[in-house]
C-alpha cells in the first residue's frame, strides 16, 4: 500500500515539476517584452548599452576641459599589453615650483583587451569606459588615440 502511495506521489510530483518548467517558458513565450535580442543595425539610433559595458577607455573631461589625470603612470604599469603610454612633461608653476604633469595619454585601442585594470587601479579615477563599441576604422593608425583633450588642464583639487 505504501509503495502505491509513493508511486502516485512520484507521478504527481513529477507532473508538478514539469508544469513548473512549462510555466517559465510559457511566461516568456506570451510576454514578448522579455526578449533580450537587439535588432542592432536597425535600432542604432536608440540603442542603450549597459552601464557595465566595456566599450573603450576614455578620460572624462568636465565642461572646463579639465580631467583628473595626474600623469602618475600607474595605468601604464598595470596594463598587461602595453596598450597605454603616458608621456609626461615638467612645468614651472606660478609659485616657481617644478611640477610633472601629463603631456599625452596614448591609448592603443587595437591592443586593448578591455581587462579594466587601468580603470580599476587609477588612484584619481581619471579613466572610465565609454559605451561606444563601433570601433571599426579603415586605417590602423586611427586606433591609436590620445585620451587627454588638447589644451586640457588638471582638475583643481586632484593631486
Amino acid at each position: 500500500m505504501r509503495s502505491i502511495i509513493k508511486y502516485l506521489k512520484d507521478v504527481v510530483l513529477g507532473i508538478w515539476s514539469l508544469l513548473k518548467g512549462m510555466k517559465v517558458t510559457g511566461s516568456y513565450f506570451f510576454r514578448p517584452s522579455t526578449i533580450v535580442t537587439q535588432k542592432y543595425p536597425n535600432n542604432r539610433k536608440d540603442l542603450v548599452m549597459f552601464d557595465r559595458f566595456k566599450g573603450e577607455v576614455i578620460m572624462p573631461h568636465n565642461e572646463n576641459n579639465e580631467h583628473k589625470c595626474t600623469g602618475c603612470g600607474i595605468c601604464e604599469m598595470n596594463c598587461p599589453n602595453g596598450t597605454i603610454e603616458v608621456i609626461s612633461k615638467t612645468i614651472i608653476t606660478k609659485d616657481g615650483k617644478k611640477k610633472r604633469i601629463i603631456d599625452k595619454h596614448i591609448y592603443r585601442l587595437g591592443m586593448c583587451t578591455f581587462c579594466a585594470l587601468c580603470v580599476k587601479t587609477c588612484p584619481s579615477n581619471a579613466l572610465a569606459f565609454s559605451q561606444e563599441f563601433e570601433h571599426a576604422v579603415f586605417n590602423r593608425a586611427l586606433l591609436i588615440k590620445q585620451l587627454n583633450k588638447p589644451g586640457s588642464q588638471l582638475m583643481k583639487g586632484v593631486e
Partner: protein, 362 residues
C-alpha cells in the same frame, strides 16, 4: 459549381461523377489518386515549410530571442531560402555505405507519413480514404517510419547513425504501446474506429470533455507518447546532437537530409491531427449541449479552420515540451514508458470501459 466550405462531400462527388463521365472507371481511379497525391505533396511542402518556421519562432520566443527576422516580413521566407540552399547542397557519396538502402531510407520515412495522412479527415468530406478501421490503420502505418530510420542508421556505416537508429527503434517499439492504448480508451468511448464516425460522435461535445477524467489522462498520455514516437522534444535520443552529432541522419546531406527533416515535421503534424481528431473533435466546432445560439455561432466558423486551429494547438504543446524539458536518458525513457505510462494507461482503459458500461459519460 457546387462548392461549400462547410461540406466538401458535394465537391468531391461532383469531381468524381465528372471524371466518371469523361473516362473509364480504371482511369478515373488513377486520375483521382494522382490528384490526391499532388494535393498532399503540395500540402506537405506548405506544412513542412511553415512548421519549420513556427518551430524556430516558438523556440526563440521561449528563449527570450527573436528568431528568424531578416528574410521577408518577420522572417517568413527564411525556410524557403533554407530549402533553396538545401536543394543546391551536394549529395555526398558515402564510402562503404550500403548504397541501395542508403538511398531508400528517406523515401520509406516519407512514404510512411504519406500513407498516414491519407486517412486523416481535414473537414467534412475532405478525407482521402475513410477506412472503417481508420484508427488502427493510422497507428500501423505511422510506426513504419521507424523502418526508414533503422535502415538509414544501418546503411550509413557510421557508429553514431547506428546508435541513433537503435535508440529510435527501442523508443518507438515501447511508446507505440502507449499511443495505441491511449487511442483505444477513446475508441471504447466512441464505439468505432472509423474517423468520420468518431468525429460525428463529438457533435455534442468533444471526447476530452465527454469522457471525464480518463479521457483527459488518455490525452496527456497520448501527447507524451506521440512526442516520443516522432523522435521529438525531450525524447530526441535518436538524434541527440550533443552525443550523436545528428543521429541516424548524420551522413545524409542535401535533399535527402531535407526528407528526414520534413518527415519529422510532417509526423508531428500527423500525430497532432490524430490527437485533434480523436480527443478534440477534429473538424467539429465547439458545441455545448443545449446552447443552440452559441452552437450556431460556432457552426459559422468553417470546419477546416477548426481542424487547423486544434492541430496548431497540439503542435504548439509539443513544441512547448521540446523547448522546456531536458532530454531523457535511455533508461529514464524506458522507465517512463514501462513503469508509469503503460500501467496508468491499462488502468485508464479499464476505468473508461467501466464508465461506458455504466453509461456515466455524457
Amino acid at each position: 459549381m457546387p462548392f461549400d466550405i462547410y461540406d466538401f462531400t458535394s465537391l468531391t462527388k461532383w469531381i468524381d461523377t465528372g471524371l466518371h463521365n469523361a473516362m473509364s472507371p480504371f482511369w478515373t481511379t488513377i486520375t483521382e489518386l494522382l490528384i490526391i497525391g499532388v494535393l498532399i505533396l503540395l500540402f506537405y511542402a506548405i506544412v513542412g515549410l511553415f512548421l519549420v518556421y513556427a518551430e524556430r519562432k516558438v523556440c526563440a520566443f521561449m528563449q527570450n530571442r527573436l528568431g528568424p527576422n531578416r528574410v521577408g516580413p518577420f522572417g517568413l521566407f527564411q525556410t524557403i531560402a533554407d530549402l533553396i540552399k538545401l536543394l543546391f547542397v551536394e549529395l555526398i557519396r558515402i564510402k562503404n555505405a550500403d548504397k541501395f538502402l542508403f538511398n531508400l531510407a528517406p523515401f520509406i520515412v516519407i512514404i510512411a507519413s504519406f500513407m498516414a495522412i491519407a486517412a486523416i479527415p481535414f473537414a467534412k468530406g475532405l478525407q482521402a480514404i475513410d477506412l472503417n478501421i481508420g484508427v488502427l490503420y493510422v497507428i500501423a502505418v505511422s510506426s513504419m517510419g521507424v523502418i526508414g530510420v533503422l535502415l538509414a542508421g544501418w546503411s550509413s556505416n557510421n557508429k553514431y547513425s547506428l546508435i541513433g537508429a537503435m535508440r529510435s527503434g527501442a523508443q518507438i517499439v515501447s511508446y507505440e504501446l502507449s499511443v495505441g492504448l491511449a487511442i483505444i480508451t477513446i475508441v471504447i468511448l466512441a464505439g468505432s474506429m472509423q474517423f468520420s464516425t468518431i468525429v460525428e460522435a463529438q457533435r455534442d461535445g468533444w471526447f476530452i470533455f465527454k469522457g471525464h477524467v480518463p479521457a483527459f489522462i488518455a490525452f496527456i498520455i497520448f501527447l507524451t507518447s506521440s512526442t516520443a514516437e516522432t523522435n521529438r522534444g525531450p525524447f530526441d535520443l535518436a538524434e541527440a546532437e550533443s552525443e550523436l552529432t545528428a543521429g541516424y541522419h548524420t551522413e545524409y546531406s542535401g535533399i535527402k537530409f531535407a526528407f528526414f527533416f520534413l518527415a519529422e515535421y510532417i509526423n508531428m503534424f500527423i500525430v497532432a491531427s490524430i490527437a485533434a481528431t480523436v480527443f478534440l473533435g477534429g473538424w467539429m466546432p465547439f458545441h455545448v449541449g443545449g446552447w443552440t445560439g452559441f452552437n450556431n455561432v460556432m457552426d459559422f466558423i468553417p470546419p477546416f479552420i477548426w481542424y487547423i486551429g486544434k492541430t496548431a494547438f497540439v503542435i504548439f504543446m509539443m513544441m512547448w515540451f521540446k523547448w522546456t524539458f531536458p532530454r531523457l536518458r535511455i533508461d529514464q525513457l524506458l522507465t517512463l514508458e514501462w513503469k508509469y505510462l503503460l500501467p496508468i494507461n491499462l488502468v485508464n482503459v479499464l476505468i473508461m470501459a467501466f464508465i461506458v458500461l455504466m453509461g456515466w459519460h455524457f
